[in-house]
């Protein structure tokens, strides 16, 4: 079974600085998707960025980028120029690329709470 591990329960970063959130996963599959979701206090789950395992190029979305190391099964999120609005819980997540039924479910890590210091 696939697992997702986030080893940093909480992190803090100064406003305007850069922070990296770690995520590792375990799978025997060769094709899959990885996601980072943000959950602010409003509890809404917001997709931050996604990565297809077959793509070598790291995904980037404005201030958010990932470092995807497939061999190491590592998928870290880098937030540049941190803003107060980035304060939230961040979840790393995995989904199999094989379609059908329960394989489409997303498996979440336990999350990292990010604090932004003004």
């Amino acid at each position: 079974a696939q697992t997702v591990t986030q080893s940093q329960p909480e992190m803090s970063v100064q406003e305007a600085e850069t922070v990296t959130l770690s995520c590792t996963y375990d799978t025997s599959e060769s094709d899959y998707y990885l996601f980072w979701y943000k959950q602010p206090p409003s509890r809404q789950m917001i997709l931050v960025i996604r990565q297809e395992a077959y793509k070598q190029q790291n995904a980037t979305e404005n201030r958010f980028s990932v470092n995807f190391q497939k061999a190491a099964k590592s998928f870290s999120l880098k937030i540049s120029d941190s803003q107060l609005g980035d304060a939230a819980m961040y979840f790393c997540a995995y989904r199999s690329a094989f379609l059908g039924g329960r394989d489409d479910k997303i498996i979440f890590g336990k999350g990292t709470r990010l604090h932004i210091l003004p």
Partner: protein, 113 residues
């Protein structure tokens, strides 16, 4: 991306009662997913609801406790039955398969007295 409306947004219920949560999507989707998020925890999948068939439950979740309906391709309900304080959680529905990322409703915050 799909727009998901979830109702109610929150409720406070008495022990032993049941509550039905509704999830409406603005487009037709084959599969809908129900998650539970206990206080301070991550999301745990309760079940996968496929239109026209019985929902598939994850380990630790049973149909008698969490019956699910999926009457059409845009709507699903989750009932939390015979509630106890341990059921106090946020319940979220979501859609999205294959290459599409999963999108979530705003969640239902449930508190049991």
């Amino acid at each position: 991306s799909a727009v998901i409306s979830q109702k109610p947004s929150r409720d406070i219920c008495q022990r032993g009662t049941s509550l039905t949560i509704q999830c409406q999507v603005d487009s037709q989707v084959t599969m809908m997913f129900w998650y539970r998020q206990q206080p301070g925890q991550s999301l745990t999948l309760i079940a996968t609801a496929n239109q026209g068939s019985e929902a598939t439950y994850e380990s630790g979740f049973v149909i008698d406790k969490f019956p699910i309906s999926r009457p059409n391709l845009t709507f699903s309900t989750l009932t939390v039955s015979n509630m106890s304080p341990e059921d106090s959680s946020i319940y979220l529905c979501s859609v999205g398969t294959g290459e599409q990322p999963q999108h979530f409703g705003d969640g239902t915050r449930l508190s049991i007295l």
